[in-house]
């Protein structure tokens, strides 16, 4: 059991082990979420095969690039906080929030110009998958804003990086989901 390497120090979970415990908990949460997203992905192929309605390809590529870019800024913020570079961290958290909002805006715009309706089965799939993903993005933005507000007040440092790490990991996870959803929704034929 590779996960258990640290257990001898962990009898009553002394402070230095909290980070490992928190991280394991967050990863388990991701595993669970993966199943939810995976089920929706399977439902998409179960119902529709690889059939797809016409979508705005340029917009799809653009928001994908923006979300990947936001992962890079989030990574920068985390790296900065781990090296006590608080100013850079705050700025990059801010960039991540902005990019996240642009992504959500892009999805909303795609919804508004979609030529199919939710009462068709591709519409059902498309709006549900992008909708649940966008809900996770919006939740992530809310959490990023809370963390950003604390980061501005200098609350995080290399000794206390967990909140930043956690929200950044969540953000990457949402990005990984989109890595699979984007081709499944935009690139099939």
């Amino acid at each position: 059991m590779a996960l258990a390497t640290a257990h001898h120090e962990a009898a009553h979970a002394p402070a230095h082990n909290h980070l490992a415990i928190n991280r394991a908990g967050l990863w388990l949460f991701f595993f669970s979420e993966t199943i939810l997203f995976g089920l929706l992905l399977s439902a998409r192929f179960y119902l529709e095969g690889i059939h797809r309605e016409e979508l705005n390809q340029a917009l799809g590529l653009l928001i994908t690039v923006i979300l990947l870019l936001s992962s890079v800024t989030a990574y920068t913020a985390e790296t900065a906080i781990e090296h006590d570079n608080k100013k850079v961290a705050s700025w990059y958290l801010f960039f991540t929030i902005v990019l996240g909002l642009i992504f959500a805006g892009g999805v909303a715009y795609e919804w508004s110009i979609a030529h199919f309706h939710r009462s068709e089965s591709f519409g059902s799939i498309f709006f549900t998958m992008t909708g649940i993903h966008a809900t996770h993005v919006i939740t992530g933005v809310f959490m990023l804003i809370l963390v950003w507000a604390q980061a501005l007040r200098g609350r995080y440092s290399s000794k206390n990086p967990w909140a930043v790490s956690a929200v950044v990991m969540y953000w990457h996870f949402v990005d990984v989901v989109w890595v699979f959803y984007y081709p499944a929704l935009y690139l099939t034929k």
Binding site: A2, T5, A20, Q57, V72, T79, K189
Partner: protein, 67 residues
């Protein structure tokens, strides 16, 4: 901070390349199987890169970090 940032930028560059590859596979490859494989492999590659380098999954089986 320089070293991890370099890693991050290299990963970002590969992610960009893979995204373009994926897009080109989808738009320019006619053969169903090749297209499917191209897209899937690119997506999996992107996911692995993000999970390993950005989400630091290896920290799960490393007892403590240095800092």
């Amino acid at each position: 901070m320089r070293k991890p940032m370099q890693t991050g930028l290299i990963v970002a560059a590969i992610l960009a390349v893979l995204t373009i590859t994926e897009y080109l596979f989808a738009t320019h490859v006619g053969d169903d199987l090749v297209r499917f494989l191209g897209i899937t492999v690119s997506a999996l590659g992107k996911a692995v890169l993000i999970i390993y380098y950005f989400m630091h999954i290896y920290r799960l089986w490393r007892p403590q970090e240095a800092h």
